[in-house]
Structures are given as structure tokens and as C-alpha cells.
């Protein structure tokens, strides 16, 4: 039976132009979305490169200034920006702390449109006030991006629904089911084979178009394991929808009813479950109010400024290492500022951490419940694969905070020792290197999806007894 179904299914699909239509559609959708993704990644790279170039340029002028000052020449810059002052370097010559795109970043925009990909933390800036959001029109954020992940998560199931909703019902409606059902074959098995064959052909089309598109877009140091992850996710997600179509074909009835049921399931899995989960996550683990955080922050700052001198004394007592070589005992604005900033930061840490813990809780909660919708599983995995998930940006944020801490520390010893910044110190400036998260969790996601699909298929075969008793055409 499989052999004949295979031969004739292909013939019918070719003659009814399904294959041609699907190929064209897939090529168009994958092509357009991958191109969009690629464009975004390119822009991101160009922006980062430009920022880094700018730092190189300003460093050159800084070195020139230093050289002039060191050789005792007059310089035209404002006195407080002259880089012999360590705080001038710390504030006016920041490094680019960039999150370089991962090789698969073009697959899913994820949170990449919300967050910025490079910041330049200065010594006096507040870490928690660092604005990690990107300057984007909110309309764009609202509409989202037409990326590969969107095509896979939202549109592919719809294509599958259109491709498979009436495998059995169309036979019933056209009348050919009567002849078919009078053959000594199991209709269930026949429907299964038909759907598996359609799954097979669609997979072939998806894999070829996707690989073609990826080759055209050009994945840099061919990260094929990640490409396989992407294909694996797409195929297992497709299998899930085909299994659902199998069940609906067996149990629902007329073509229209099938289509409506499958569509209802699509709305539930792709639109409703995620938004309800999000709503629940927000209700269960509400984010503390940011506006109230501002109040708190400012109150603490006022306090700290009032106690400035006391703070500085305590600070230097607690951290003698900063002033170990200081013989001048000079105190400037920055001595006070940096010390009280550190105190404020420590005091505010619990408030700021509350956001992270809450976000973490939301995340782990939604990770636990993601299996309620395969759409979430796939979207999250694609985000992970692309390095654009919430976790990735959190990881980046953590690294930025750590870097700006070390940047500040680096200059604190200059400041409290009242030493000048010299040309040779330039090479010792802290450098940032972004480390991406290791685990993507894609294999696990694929396993979950396959398990879901198998359960559905099993369900289709398990409840066989009941319908066999009633007969195939009974309604």
C-alpha cells in the first residue's frame, strides 16, 4: 500500500499543483524572512564595527593629547576632559561593550529589536540606570518582525492545515471514499500513510528551500550543527501539526468542520496559550513598579549626598587598597562621588535584583509550562539558537555590569591614589569580550515535540476499537 500511495500521492500533488505552489510559497516566505533577518544582523554588525572604530579614533586623539601634555605642551581641550585625569578617561573614553551576533541570529529577531547591542558604560554612570533598550519605533516592536521564526511558528502550521485538513473528508465528499473503504485495507492506516507522505514531501520542500535560503544568506563559519538544530525543530514542529491533522481527519468529519477545528487549535496553541501564560506569569510574579523604583532610588541618593563626607571616610577605611600609594590626601568631587555612588549602588542592589529575580521566576515558570504549546517551545528554542532570547540579553546585561564594575575599579585605584593617567596605561585598559550562553536546549525541545507528536499519533491508533465497531461511514 505504501508504495502505491507514495507513487500516486506524488502524482496527485504534482497534478493539482500543490507541490509547485508550496515550493514557491516556501521559497518566497523563507527567502523574504531570512533576508529581513540577515539585514538586521548586518546592521547590527555595522553599528558595532562603527562604534569600535570610533573608539579607536578617539583613543588615537587621546594618546595624542596625553603625549602633548606629557611633553609639557599646551592643549586646547576643556581642563576636565584632559585624559591625564583618570576620571576623564573613565568618563570620556569609554569602551564599546558589544554583544556580537551569533551565527544564527538571522533566524529569530527574538528580543533583539527591544534591546541594544552595545553600550559604553562610564565610571560615573549608574549601572541600573544604563538603558539597555534600543531606540526603535514602538510600532515596530508592536508588529514584530517578519523573520524565519515567524514563518516557522505561525505560518508553517497554517500551510500544513491547508495541506492536510481534508485528506479523508475530501474523499468522503467527492465519493471516492466508498470505493476506497470497500478495499481490504485499514482506512486509518491509509490516512496515516497519506499524511506521512504529505509530511515527507513538505519536509523535503522545507529542508531544500531552507538550506537553499541559508546558503544564499550565507551562514558564516558554517555552523552546521545549528542549522541541523533549526531543521530538526522545524520538522518536529511540522510533525506535531500533521499528527494533529491526523486526529482531526479521523474524528471530526466534513472538510469545513476539520478546517475550523484545526484553525481553532492553531489559535489556541499559537495565539491564546502564549498570551494567557504571559498574563499569568505577570500576575503570579508581578514586576515591582519601575516608577516606584525611581522614587526609592532618588530618596537613597539624597540620603547619600547628605552623608557624603562620612561615606567617603568609611569607604576609605573599608577599602584601604584603593588609596595605598596616596601621599597627597587630595579630595576632589570625584572622590566623594565615586564612594557615595558605590554605597548607593550597594543599598539599591536588593531593589534592582528584585526585577531580575522576578524575571527569572517568570522565565522558569513559563519554561515549565511551555510544553502546553509547541509554538512556545519552538519560538523559545529558535530564540536560543539565534542568541536573541530573554536569557541571552540577561546574560549580556550581567556581563556589562561586571565589565563596568571592573572599568570603575580600574580607575578607582588611580583616583584614590591621586595618580595621573599616562600613555602607557592605555594598553592596560580593561577589554570586553562577550561570551554567549552555551546550552541552547534545542535537542530537548525536539524530543518534547516528537513526544507530543507520537502521543497524538498513538491516540489516533489507540481509539481504533470504538470506530471499527460503528463502521467507517457511520456518523
Amino acid at each position: 500500500m505504501l508504495r502505491y500511495n507514495f507513487i500516486y500521492e506524488l502524482r496527485i500533488l504534482l497534478r493539482s499543483r500543490w507541490i509547485q505552489l508550496l515550493s514557491l510559497l516556501l521559497l518566497l516566505l523563507f527567502g523574504f524572512s531570512a533576508f529581513n533577518g540577515k539585514e538586521k544582523v548586518e546592521k547590527r554588525k555595522v553599528d558595532i564595527a562603527a562604534a569600535k572604530q570610533e573608539v579607536l579614533d578617539t583613543d588615537q586623539s587621546m594618546l595624542k593629547l596625553l603625549d602633548s601634555v606629557e611633553r609639557g605642551m599646551a592643549v586646547s581641550a576643556s581642563p576636565w576632559t584632559i585624559p591625564t585625569s583618570p576620571m576623564a578617561v573613565a568618563n570620556y573614553y569609554p569602551r564599546v561593550v558589544a554583544m556580537d551576533p551569533q551565527p544564527m541570529a538571522f533566524v529569530s529577531t527574538g528580543q533583539a529589536d527591544i534591546f541594544t547591542h552595545y553600550v559604553k558604560p562610564t565610571a560615573t554612570g549608574d549601572d541600573f540606570a544604563l538603558n539597555f533598550t534600543e531606540m526603535t519605533s514602538p510600532v515596530q516592536l508592536l508588529f514584530g518582525s517578519f523573520d524565519l521564526a515567524f514563518v516557522i511558528v505561525y505560518l508553517l502550521p497554517l500551510l500544513i492545515i491547508a495541506f492536510s485538513y481534508n485528506v479523508l473528508s475530501s474523499e468522503k465528499e467527492s465519493g471516492s471514499l466508498r470505493l476506497l473503504a470497500s478495499q481490504p485495507i485499514s482506512i486509518r492506516k491509509w490516512v496515516f500513510q497519506k499524511l506521512i507522505l504529505r509530511f515527507f514531501w513538505l519536509s523535503v520542500l522545507v529542508v531544500t528551500t531552507l538550506v537553499l535560503v541559508i546558503l544564499i544568506v550565507g551562514i558564516q563559519p558554517l555552523e552546521w550543527s545549528k542549522v541541523f538544530g533549526l531543521l530538526g525543530l522545524a520538522l518536529s514542529y511540522m510533525l506535531f501539526w500533521f499528527s494533529l491533522a491526523f486526529l482531526v481527519n479521523l474524528y471530526v468529519g466534513s472538510s469545513a468542520k476539520n478546517a475550523v477545528s484545526l484553525l481553532g487549535l492553531w489559535v489556541v496553541f499559537v495565539l491564546l496559550v502564549p498570551s494567557v501564560l504571559n498574563q499569568l506569569a505577570g500576575t503570579l510574579y508581578p514586576m515591582p513598579s519601575r516608577t516606584l523604583m525611581i522614587n526609592e532610588m532618588r530618596e537613597r541618593k539624597v540620603e547619600a549626598t547628605k552623608r557624603q563626607d562620612e561615606i567617603l571616610d568609611n569607604f576609605l577605611r573599608d577599602h584601604p587598597e584603593y588609596a595605598i600609594n596616596d601621599s597627597t590626601q587630595t579630595r576632589s568631587f570625584y572622590h566623594n562621588y565615586m564612594a557615595s555612588q558605590k554605597v548607593v549602588k550597594e543599598e539599591l542592589a536588593p531593589i534592582v535584583n528584585a526585577y531580575e529575580t522576578q524575571l527569572k521566576k517568570q522565565q522558569s515558570w513559563s519554561r515549565q509550562l511551555q510544553w502546553t504549546s509547541p509554538a512556545i517551545v519552538v519560538q523559545e528554542s529558535l530564540n536560543n539558537l539565534s542568541g536573541t532570547s530573554t536569557a541571552d540579553y540577561e546574560n549580556y546585561r550581567r556581563q556589562v555590569i561586571a565589565f563596568s564594575e571592573s572599568w570603575r575599579e580600574h580607575f578607582m585605584s588611580f583616583l584614590y591614589n591621586n595618580t595621573l593617567f599616562k600613555s602607557e596605561d592605555h594598553t592596560n585598559l580593561p577589554q570586553f569580550q562577550y561570551h554567549a550562553l552555551g546550552q541552547s536546549g534545542v535537542p530537548k525541545a525536539i524530543l518534547i515535540l516528537l513526544a507530543m507528536a507520537l502521543v497524538l499519533l498513538g491516540l489516533g491508533f489507540a481509539v481504533q476499537g470504538a470506530t471499527r465497531q460503528k463502521g467507517i461511514l457511520a456518523d
Binding site: 500516486y8 497534478r15 467527492s174 466508498r178 470497500s182 485495507i185 460503528k470 463502521g471 461511514l473 457511520a474
Partner: protein, 238 residues
């Protein structure tokens, strides 16, 4: 070959087939006559296990059709009132497909042989079914029966909507199959065709088999009279 015993089907309150017992042996052709709703199609559907009987049994070649639906279908060919095939495939492809999925691989030559034997014109072999008339489609159905080497043929109003010539051709085909020892059960309203092709004739009313004849024992006018009398049962009594 085909036999039913006290075969009964109820749809809720309605008894569509009521304790029906009949038997068709090899080489016999039983025509079931009866008004719309008499239960003819339901009987055939139960033989095919399209609907499960409420009680009683239907057997094909000695096997219970309800308990072994797939096994019994190996002996059956069914031609519904309006035989539909795959419109996107040609006649020969349809034949190949329906034989193939049941595990019968046939060479191209035998496929054309069966179509020829079923009386389809040669130039139609490679045409898509979407261009076929009902008569032509039925010929493909017969070719499927031939290819399957069928033992039982179930026909549901096969001649309705056929022109007299096509209807006659179809009758001749049935005679040929009967000659090969196929047991045929045919539901029809067409008294004339029944008289011509049948070996046995039964009249159904309200799910019951109310009259049964050997076809040769009765003339066409007699058959028509009996049929009408049976249909207007109550009026005749009063």
C-alpha cells in the same frame, strides 16, 4: 458466497433493515427491489461493514463481515450508485492504484487487458477521470473487480442515470462476471434491468424482504404487478 441471517439495523427508532435473511451463491445475481428508504443500501453497507449491524450477521465467503471487515473485503468489489474515482488520475492509473494499495501489483499489459475486458474504449485509458461519464467510470469499477478476481460484487443502483445503451452494456458485463462464478447482489429500482440480468429477485419493504422469486419463474408484467401491489400494501388490503 453472500449470506445474511436476521440482519437488523436500527437508526434510533427507525428500523432500516429488519431481520433480513438472504443468500447469494456463486454465479447467482440477486436483485433487491424496493422503494427509496426500503433498506437496500443499508444492507449493502452492512456487508461492507460501513455500518455495523444492530443484530444478526452478514457473512461473505463464510467469514463474518462485521468481525473480519478487512479479510472479507478481499473478496468484494463494491460499485456505489455514483462511483467516484480520482479525477486527477487517468483510468489506468486509478485501476493501478486501487489494485496496488491492496497489494496486487499488475503489469501494464494486464491493466489494459482488464480495462478492455470491462468494455472501456481504448482511447480513454489514458484520459483523466474528470472527463469521464458515469457509465465510463462504472466500467473502470468493473475493471477493478476483474483485476481483483473478485468473488462478490455489490452494486447499489448501478443503472440509475445510465442511458439504455450503457445500461444494456452494463447488464452484459454482469452476465459475463456471473459466468465466471461471481456472486452479485444488486440493489435497483429498475424492474426491467432486474428481470433481464437477475437469477433471483427480492422485494424489500420497510427493511423486510417481503417477496422472493427465481427470475425465470416470473414474467416482467407479473413482476411489475407484484411490485406495485407490495408497495401499496395497505391500500390493497382496504
Amino acid at each position: 458466497m453472500i449470506s445474511t441471517k436476521d440482519l437488523t439495523k436500527k437508526f434510533g427508532d427507525l428500523t432500516a433493515v429488519d431481520h433480513l435473511s438472504l443468500s447469494v451463491k456463486e454465479g447467482e445475481l440477486l436483485c433487491l427491489l424496493g422503494a427509496n428508504g426500503a433498506g437496500k443500501s443499508t444492507t449493502i453497507n452492512m456487508l461492507l461493514n460501513f455500518v455495523a449491524p444492530t443484530s444478526g450477521s452478514a457473512t461473505i465467503n463464510g467469514l463474518d463481515a462485521t468481525r473480519h471487515p478487512i479479510k472479507t473485503k478481499e473478496f468484494i468489489t463494491y460499485i456505489p450508485e455514483n462511483l467516484m474515482l480520482y479525477p486527477m488520475l487517468t483510468a489506468i492509473e486509478n485501476l493501478d492504484y486501487f489494485s496496488g494499495i491492496t497489494g496486487r501489483q499488475l503489469a501494464q499489459s494486464s491493466l489494459t487487458g482488464f480495462l478492455e475486458e470491462a468494455g472501456l474504449q481504448k482511447d480513454a485509458f489514458h484520459k483523466r477521470i474528470s472527463t469521464f461519464s458515469k457509465g465510463m467510470r462504472q466500467k473502470v469499477g468493473i475493471a477493478i473487480a476483474l483485476a481483483k478476481d473478485t468473488k462478490v460484487l455489490l452494486l447499489d443502483e448501478p443503472t440509475s442515470g445510465l442511458d439504455p445503451k450503457a445500461s444494456n452494456e452494463f447488464g452484459n458485463l454482469l452476465q459475463k462476471l456471473r459466468g465466471k462464478g461471481v456472486a452479485i447482489l444488486m440493489a435497483t429500482h429498475d424492474l426491467f434491468r432486474a428481470k433481464v440480468v437477475a437469477t433471483h429477485i427480492g422485494i424489500m419493504k420497510d427493511g423486510k424482504l417481503v417477496q422472493q422469486f427465481v427470475a425465470d419463474d416470473i414474467s416482467l408484467p407479473q413482476l411489475e404487478k407484484t411490485y406495485l401491489e407490495t408497495m401499496n400494501y395497505k391500500e390493497v388490503l382496504s
